[in-house]
């Protein structure tokens, strides 16, 4: 158990900069998720913490000690890989005890640790089996068991759920969270799935193009994204972005999305946005904040009519797609509220949750 600190960490492959100047502080026992699209540098960062990649520049410290020059086995870390990386010729018990045997732990302690970890992960009856006799989820649990028995300072997970089917992924996500609650160890978890990030993390680090876009709690990132990338990445389905112009409206402001549609900016925001009047901006609003008129008022809102393009019933809600000046926008309504494609209906935008983005800087205002 220890804190992890990255200071100005850079990774270059010849001239290609994979990771540029990452600064990150992970306090003891925190579950941090590095999330981002493919190629954003999250796995490279994780592997640099593990010692599997050389650091081009900067410093990484674990538990207060700089580990730049330490080999992986001396960093007191344990890693769970995307494709499990179990030793195929060893049984589950041997897989889990391999690291401890190499470090010359006494037999009794090895057995105790293996049994304890197997108990936490519910794999006690699998201890005599070989990896090829296990299912994907079982193999992943064995990989986690191999990490747990080491009692390391830091757990590193490299997209561990990517190889599992959707249903199993949801199950294992809960398992991982449960294990973290029992075995309170600093964890760095890499994934490209923002749902995993939101559900598992104490804090999320959104990465893009080798840089950190934003660090924050899941709630923070959801409600207060700082950049266009974070706003569009977090949340499923993604936030709607519509080109808009900011105009004055008497003492207040309004956002014009098209000739026929403009929204009043809530009072609380007028001071923040006033300096950007007349600019071409991007209006952002999440689909869950475009709903049918509900009767009971929920924040500052405005109703507006739409002609539905596509209607997707999901069971617990219905997704409606409509066009605003050529841009497709998505809303989420009660299951029976939407009639069908081509019909007009009245929707309500919850403007307390709106965002305005300056396309020139890609920052959220």
């Amino acid at each position: 158990m220890a804190d992890v600190a990255l200071r100005n960490v850079v990774k270059k492959y010849d001239d290609v900069v994979a990771v540029s100047s990452i600064n990150l502080d992970i306090p003891n026992q925190e579950f941090v998720v590095l999330v981002g699209p493919s190629g954003c540098g999250k796995s490279t960062t994780l592997r640099m913490i593990a010692g599997l990649e050389e650091i081009t520049d900067g410093e990484i410290s674990i538990g207060g000690a700089v580990v730049n020059d330490l080999p992986p086995k001396d960093r007191d870390i344990a890693m769970v890989f995307q494709n499990y990386a179990l030793y195929p010729h060893m049984t589950v018990a041997e897989n889990m005890s391999f690291g401890l045997k190499l470090r010359k732990f006494p037999k009794a302690e090895i057995k105790a640790r293996v049994d304890h970890a197997a108990g936490i992960l519910d794999i006690t009856e699998l201890l005599a089996r070989r990896p090829k006799q296990l299912s994907g989820g079982q193999r992943q649990r064995v990989a986690m068991g191999r990490a747990i028995v080491r009692n390391p300072k830091v757990f590193l997970f490299d997209e561990p759920l990517s190889n599992l089917d959707a249903k199993l992924r949801v199950q294992m996500r809960t398992e991982i969270k449960r294990v973290h609650q029992k075995v309170k160890t600093t964890t760095v978890y890499v994934t490209h799935d923002q749902v995993e990030a939101m559900t598992l993390a104490d804090r999320v680090v959104v990465m893009n193009g080798g840089k950190i876009e934003q660090i924050g709690t899941p709630n923070d990132l959801y409600h207060h994204p700082k950049t266009r990338f974070v706003a569009g990445f977090i949340g499923s389905p993604a936030m709607n972005f519509v080109p808009a112009k900011l105009e004055t409206n008497g003492t207040g402001l309004k956002v014009r999305l098209s000739d026929t549609l403009s929204f009043h900016v809530p009072e609380s925001r007028t001071t923040r946005y006033r300096g950007h009047v007349g600019k071409d901006l991007l209006f952002g609003l999440r689909p869950e904040h475009i709903t049918e008129t509900r009767g009971r008022e929920n924040g500052v809102g405005q109703e507006f009519p739409v002609t539905l393009d596509v209607v997707e019933p999901m069971g617990m809600e219905t997704m409606v797609f409509f066009k605003v000046d050529g841009t497709e926008v998505c809303g989420r309504v009660e299951p029976n509220a939407a009639k069908g494609s081509g019909e007009t209906m009245q929707l309500r935008a919850n403007l307390d949750q709106m965002h305005l983005i300056d396309p020139a800087t890609n920052l959220v205002l």
């Binding site: 030793y87 010729h89 391999f98 690291g99 080491r150």
Partner: protein
């Protein structure tokens, strides 16, 4: 109308099924026919060998008898005389020593070389790997002249230890090549997991790579064994005296004097010489196949 339609597909299915079965029968018949021809063609010489080894010299001398059958009764005289009155047992011992040593040296050298060339990235590793394989393409019949000079200068001419020195030049390149292929097929995450678990490179090799690549190791051992056991050109060139000679050359040179061929003993000797490879192949083949199916691929 509907009943007709209902029966028509059923009839059609039976028709198709029958012609499929006919086709299958013909295919089976043809393949068995060719397999039997093939088997007869390839088993004829060994059969001839066994039959001749069990005949007396007198029967062989009589031209009237059919060489494929034994008329005067089975006799083990050929074996008895071969083992008692010739240097056959010495040849056998020499060959066994040379083979065991060569297989051991080859496996140690090629496993270490393959691990370094296939797994550790260093400048020139792929060029070196290809270069090692290319040396195998030079025929040993070309190499024995310069090799003669080298072995003579070391003082190992006319000694079977010279063979132990020279055979690895034939076996190591190919075995290294096989092993590189096997080691490269092991996923890299396994290395990384082992590194994080605390294994050094030697431990990784001994505890993970060798067990996982065991089918490849056995294949390489079978190859090295065969080359060693059956080598002819080098022992022919480098070994003169009977007490240093190996099976292949020894059997032929000591049992053929001028134009007198001691066929009975030659065949008996050939049979005894062929026995160890047969036994070892049979034994290792089981292990090889078991190794393939025991989860030696990525887990």
């Amino acid at each position: 109308m509907s009943t007709l339609a209902a029966t028509a597909p059923a009839l059609k299915r039976v028709g198709v099924g029958a012609s499929l079965r006919r086709n299958r029968r013909w295919a089976l018949f043809a393949s068995y026919f060719f397999l039997i021809c093939f088997a007869i063609f390839f088993l004829a010489p060994p059969y001839y060998m066994v039959v001749t080894a069990l005949k007396s010299d007198a029967e062989m001398a009589r031209l009237a008898t059919n060489p494929w059958f034994i008329y005067d009764g089975v006799t083990f005289d050929q074996f008895r005389i071969l083992l008692a009155n010739t240097d056959f047992l010495i040849f056998f011992k020499n060959t066994a020593i040379v083979t065991v040593c060569v297989v051991a040296i080859t496996m140690v050298v090629s496993i270490l070389a393959a691990f370094a060339l296939g797994r550790m990235k260093f400048w020139g590793s792929s060029i070196l790997a290809t270069g090692i394989f290319l040396t195998y393409l030079v025929p040993d019949t070309l190499l024995f002249i310069p090799m003669f000079q080298i072995v003579k200068s070391i003082g190992l001419l006319n000694s079977y230890w010279g063979m132990v020195l020279v055979y690895p030049t034939l076996t190591v390149p190919f075995c290294t090549w096989i092993m590189i292929g096997y080691f490269q097929s092991i996923p890299k995450e396994l290395d990384e997991a082992a590194l994080i678990d605390g294994a050094g490179h030697m431990q990784m090799l001994l505890k993970i790579f060798i067990p996982v690549a065991l089918p490849g190791i056995i294949a390489a051992m079978i190859f090295a064994f065969t080359v060693s056991w059956a080598a002819f050109v080098y022992p022919m060139a480098f070994l003169y005296s009977s007490d240093q000679q190996v099976l292949t050359v020894g059997t032929v040179t000591s049992l053929i004097r001028g134009d007198v061929y001691k066929w009975g003993m030659l065949m008996a000797g050939a049979l005894l010489a062929a026995a160890p490879p047969l036994v070892i192949y049979a034994f290792l083949m089981d292990y090889y196949i078991a190794g393939l199916t025991a989860g030696a691929t990525k887990g």
